[in-house]
Symmetry: C2
Subunit: 502 residues, 2 copies
């Protein structure tokens, strides 16, 4: 077989597997958005059957043969071909090294542990969940061992979610971040400036929906190949061909739906910016969870909580819900949008204290995998870390160690993506603002196209061509660092809380 | 292998194939309800891949081996086992006798012919569609030949949609029906009683939604394993585990959404009444399209357009949209709900003239398959039949010969199901009213449970155990006949149009 034929055959087989994955994603989306309450059993059957077929497609021996054939003379490949070969090999080895028994056992454990976690969280009963966490940790060690990483299992998972990001690198980055965020939070907490928390109460859902639809379309989310619906948890699913976002409306937090929709449309615009012709192959796949998170964070925080954005959208907000902002000044609104208040719940945290929640989880995951922390001692360790980092101790395990879904699914090493995403967002933001100093003038006019184009060209279009450090280096000209995030946070929040600029 | 094991193995394989079918149905539902406008290409890829996998599952050689093993000593099977074996054999032979090339060619033609039909209808240009209709007819003849029915291809399709219903039987039933419906329509058209057509204009969609939700729940559609959404065309998809209905809101026909929702929930309640434990096997599958249609028609017409139903729901309608019925009497409302007006469009027809639309199509399909009518002569034949049956000639092909989607998909022999469904509905209705003379007193109180239970026990629970004639005979004690439908139509419409009872 000629090289070009082998490359296109390989791409075709990867795309076929991806089509099955995309059906699985749609089943999951539909489960969270539409599924009637008593139809869960049928959905489980559909998902189990499709997951088996998708795994068969991803481990198709013909993929292995094509990879082997291409590797014999990889030097003949063009750049795209080399990326395809390298990344397809990575995925194929990962998928095929896991015995089918392991995959089945893991799927069953994920499902069972998730349900136990739900009930344990509701009952604030860590002991109920502890045996499942033990089992997930054991499974994680086995999975790392299958990949030949038994000596550094945590590193295996960190690299899994963010290619190129090892434990040492992240530890150093997080230490740098911590040294800057902790004093900033302390200064904000000590500030006499206190945001109002009584704005926009009773913002009608229909008006919220109109606003978030208008905002996400203005930012650049393409509704011709995507949509936004309501689900219990906000998420982005699908791919560039059909991108599905969700949001949810919280009566007690009237702008929460808007910001979660901006966040998810950041994820969605990244997916929509991946090259459609390569969809289903590594060239048309995102570069990792931190890069993904950088896109959602940049649109949510740097853009969506910025003054220029609100210069354009404040009048729209006031028009849609005049009573909610009667007697509220622009400065008060802007401060409320950028309220910083340490709390015990990660998903409710502002963009400053959010980082502390991740540092806490990263430290605990490191200790768990290093064998320095036993599962039974985790709640106490969590509470101590929370007191140290956030100055707050959770009232019970449900709002402490049991608050996140990730560990129930065995998703160790995922949490750092959120914080790395914050860093990458800030570093991209610093770069783009240096390149286009008048960029925010566009925002004040409701025009976000220059920013989206820049992200398309510097991030989206590359798919998985580069690992995370290389992608950041190429896009920004610098190694990934916490410094831009710290500069960004200090600039925005010092102006609000630590001067007369509130 | 022991018989019980072979039976359960066979059922498991059929259920597996059905799970894939159910994913395909969900993809189709999602396409019609949710799919973003530019995501059609992706959906086509997903559907093609899944359809191939579903066909593989349905033609799994192990099903053939299990069938052969069971047939060796079929006399040892219990009644359920015999039904399973008989019907699974029928399906398996149908699926395996079609060469894969034929299936692929047919799928491609269906898709292409549908698009051509859409544009031809919009342009009212029959010549554009004619070559595709020729090809679909040729494909239909080939399909019948693969099944050994080359001498009677139309019979093959009639039996395909309605097991046990042959061309001779249907011809006789339709002649009986015609002899009664034609004079009834003539008498109604000549009547001085004319329904108002100015009611409920501007019925707000939100209020319509509230009403149709309340009505369908009261009738017995189970929203815990089903839902209703909005799509361009009303339909029912899914099965007992997850039943999805659609409706659509027409500003110019304010009760159209309600009646289409009642109609679809009739289909949905049939699906929901099939035995869940047999889902995916013939014991948990509907008995044919005429029986299916009988359920939707019975709920829509006999129940939903009846006086007792409106005794309960008229106050609700007036409460939801008081302006729309201001100055309108109960008699005027009821007459408008039962308006009879011959028109050229089948899907807009009332329940009396609807039958004439089907008789017309059946006669033309018979002539096409008998070779007595060429495709090029079809528009003229259509117009002549329309003038004869309905007293109206379509203004153009778009509202005449091109009005229905069925032929573009090669669904010949499907149309009679609608009329047979009307007949079965009326025959079931006559039976149940004889058994429970006070049944409509329940309706006037908003209670429909006795009717649903009766249908569950006499129709739904049997799945595909009986063919259409046998099911009707067992449920009603009589052979299927047009007489009950004629008695029902004369009773209801004579009272409205041909006496003082209007």
């Amino acid at each position: 077989m000629k090289h070009p034929d082998a490359v296109s055959n390989l791409a075709a087989r990867l795309k076929r597997a991806h089509v099955l994955d995309s059906v699985l994603e749609l089943l999951d989306w539909d489960e969270q958005v539409n599924l009637p309450p008593d139809s869960g059993g049928r959905r489980a059957e559909q998902t189990a059957l499709l997951a088996g077929l998708a795994h068969e497609a991803a481990t198709d021996p013909q993929i292995g043969e094509l990879l082997a054939a291409l590797e014999v003379s990889a030097e003949l490949l063009d750049d795209d071909g080399r990326v395809l070969l390298r990344e397809a090999r990575r995925d194929y080895d990962k998928a095929t090294r896991l015995p089918t028994d392991f995959v089945t056992e893991k799927a069953a454990l994920d499902s069972e542990a998730f349900l136990v976690w739900q009930s344990a969280r509701a009952a604030a009963d860590f002991q109920r969940f502890a045996p499942y966490l033990e089992r997930q940790l054991a499974m994680a060690r086995r999975e790392a061992a299958y990949a030949g990483m038994q000596a550094r299992p945590y590193d295996y998972f960190l690299d899994h979610y963010n290619p190129g990001m090892g434990e040492g690198t992240i530890t150093a980055l997080f230490a740098e971040l911590r040294s800057g965020v902790v004093p900033l939070v302390q200064a904000i907490v000590a500030s006499p400036v206190v945001p109002r928390d009584d704005l926009l109460k009773g913002f009608p859902v229909a008006a919220q929906q109109a606003l978030l639809r208008e905002v996400t379309a203005a930012l650049g989310f393409d509704f011709r190949r995507g949509r936004i619906d309501v689900a219990a948890h906000p998420f982005c699913s699908g791919d560039a061909a059909d991108t599905r976002l969700t949001t949810r409306f919280k009566p007690e937090a009237p702008l929460s739906a808007l910001f979660s929709a901006i966040h998810e449309s950041g994820h969605g615009m990244y997916e929509q910016g991946l090259p459609l012709e390569h969809l289903g192959t590594p060239l048309g796949t995102h570069a990792g969870m931190a890069v993904h998170e950088s896109q959602s964070r940049l649109w949510e925080n740097q853009v969506g909580r910025g003054r220029a954005f609100w210069r354009h959208f404040e009048p729209r907000l006031r028009a849609l819900f005049p009573e909610g902002l009667a007697g509220v000044s622009t400065a008060e609104l802007y401060l409320a949008i950028n309220a910083v208040r340490p709390g015990v719940i990660r998903v409710e945290a502002d963009e400053v204290t959010y980082n502390l929640h991740i540092l806490l989880r990263f430290a605990l995951e490191q200790q768990l995998f290093a064998g320095d922390l036993a599962v039974r001692d985790l709640p106490a360790a969590w509470n101590a870390a929370s007191a140290e980092m956030l100055g707050l101790t959770p009232g019970h395990a449900g709002e402490g160690v049991l608050q996140d879904v990730h560990w129930s699914r065995g998703k160790f090493g995922y949490f750092p993506s959120y914080c790395l995403g914050n860093m990458i967002a800030a570093q991209l933001w610093e770069t783009v603002r240096t390149a286009m100093p008048d960029l925010e003038d566009d925002f004040a006019r409701g025009d976000f196209t220059r920013l989206l184009s820049w992200l398309r060209n510097h991030v989206h279009v590359h798919g998985r061509r580069h690992d995370t450090p290389a992608l950041v280096r190429r896009a920004t000209g610098h190694e990934l660092s916490a410094a831009p995030l710290l500069r960004y946070l200090r600039e925005r929040y010092a102006a609000l809380y630590l001067s007369d600029g509130g």
